[in-house]
């Protein structure tokens, strides 16, 4: 032990092995966004996927609702150190959305209503790892938590789960999104505590 804060004991341990390093449990659902909450009506909602050659696939709200949906229970981890276990979401798997998309891309830039972006490797969006979620805890997903629909990529820090999702741009090369340009990690694995660039 190279350093101890004099007098600090901390909470009783008995750490949950589902809690990544440096995280603490919360029963609440805190909100983190860079600006005002976007309010997107179902009427104006359109989800798009664009490939590297410019081909666009789009879904209206009704078309998104018509796709096969899944209910998943996952743990989520925010870079600001809170984690929430066993959260229940309903949405469409990215495997479903991307099933007919032809691409050679290795990366994706996710775009939100309001201008937010975040980048991820495409493989992290596939194989049952990511959803476009529109339900939370048995109810509609509320706007402050990203409704009508948000990306859900629970194995990465939660800023990668872009709120108010509107499009997924498939890219041959990686490029940093909003928080990633501001010093946050390009990948953001909570188990490797990749909070900031260089972690």
């Amino acid at each position: 032990m190279d350093f101890v804060t004099r007098g600090f004991q901390g909470r009783p341990r008995g750490r949950d092995d589902r809690l990544p390093p440096g995280q603490y449990l919360t029963g609440d659902f805190p909100v983190l966004s860079a600006g005002p909450t976007s309010n997107v009506d179902h009427d104006e909602f359109e989800l798009w996927v664009a490939t590297e050659d410019g081909t666009r696939h789009t879904w209206s709200w009704a078309e998104l609702m018509a796709l096969p949906a899944e209910t998943v229970t996952v743990d989520i981890h925010c870079v600001t150190s809170w984690s929430k276990l066993d959260t229940e979401w309903r949405g469409v798997s990215l495997d479903t959305l991307l099933a007919d998309v032809e691409t050679a891309a290795d990366f994706a830039m996710v775009h939100s209503y309001g201008g937010y972006t975040t980048n991820l490797p495409l493989e992290d969006l596939l194989d049952g790892q990511a959803w476009v979620a529109y339900g939370y805890d048995g109810d509609d997903l509320r706007p402050e938590h990203g409704g009508p629909a948000r990306l859900l990529v629970p194995h990465l820090y939660f800023w990668k789960s872009a709120k108010w999702v509107r499009g997924i741009e498939l890219m041959l090369e990686d490029s940093p999104g909003f928080w990633e340009q501001l010093g946050y990690h390009d990948y953001g694995d909570p188990w490797r505590e990749q909070r900031y660039q260089g972690d």
């Binding site: 101890v4 804060t5 600090f8 901390g10 805190p30 983190l32 005002p36 150190s81 010093g183």
Partner: protein
């Protein structure tokens, strides 16, 4: 790779540094300012925060983020900590940490919720409770001849005003428009009925959407949601409203 210019190289900002408490200043019954001496501090911008890490004898650590309350001044880093009921880190910092004791800090963190010297245009600051802390760093950083500044600061009652005396001086002699909004108890001289922040608290000549101030909103989640919605309703462009939320909220 594109990256916003913020103080300190990446490795400098990631490094955990020993930070020794050199002064504590009570601000209210539940908030205290801690002045830390951080060896080799890379500097920070007003609005940024730092990670504070406490280490127990068995190696257990607890890390939380705290906003810096004063502009860059060598190795000195000032934080104002509001005691959170049952808060593992905030209660220790507020009550247990003595002058001469050390913690670890790293940062600065956050390149979005910042104000830069020379940034053009008026600045509208909207604080709820201890959300005033990073906004105070912005107020303290503005120099002579700076663009107009307005602070709308929501508190429960008169005893909850952090930086009360300094804000009074800023308002009386320094041309900062400070408006206190009392949600539960107000001084007798305040004619505004107590209650949560409303449109009339934010609407003022010179501070409309057309005046295009950059708006910084900081406070608990519910407060920030409400204040940002009011600003949008008043005609402020969403891309000029920067928010920083803290604390838990119901799902």
């Amino acid at each position: 790779m594109a990256r916003a210019a913020v103080p300190g190289g990446l490795s400098a900002r990631r490094a955990w540094r020993e930070a020794t408490l050199v002064e504590r200043r009570p601000e209210t019954d539940s908030a205290v300012t801690l002045v830390l001496d951080v060896d080799g501090w890379p500097g920070h911008l007003p609005g940024q925060h730092v990670d504070v890490r406490l280490t127990a004898p068995d190696g257990y650590t607890a890390t939380r983020s705290y906003s810096v309350s004063a502009p860059e001044r060598g190795d000195r880093v000032e934080l104002t900590v509001q005691r959170v009921p049952d808060g593992e880190v905030s209660t220790f910092l507020a009550d247990g940490l003595a002058v001469g004791d050390a913690v670890r800090v790293r940062g600065p963190v956050g390149g979005w919720f910042v104000w830069r010297t020379g940034q053009p245009g008026p600045v509208l600051l909207v604080a709820g409770g201890s959300g005033v802390v990073p906004l105070m760093a912005i107020l303290r950083a503005r120099g002579p001849g700076a663009a107009p500044f307005r602070l709308v600061y929501s508190v429960r009652g008169p005893d909850d005003v952090i930086y009360r005396d300094e804000l009074a001086v800023l308002a009386a002699t320094d041309g900062v428009d400070v408006r206190l909004v009392h949600t539960r108890r107000a001084p007798d001289v305040d004619k505004r009925p107590v209650g949560r922040l409303r449109e009339s608290d934010l609407a003022a000549p010179g501070w409309t959407g057309e005046d295009a101030p950059t708006c910084y909103v900081c406070g608990p989640t519910g407060f920030v949601e409400g204040a940002a919605d009011l600003l949008v309703a008043l005609g402020h462009a969403a891309d000029r409203i920067r928010t920083e939320r803290f604390g838990p909220s119901g799902p």
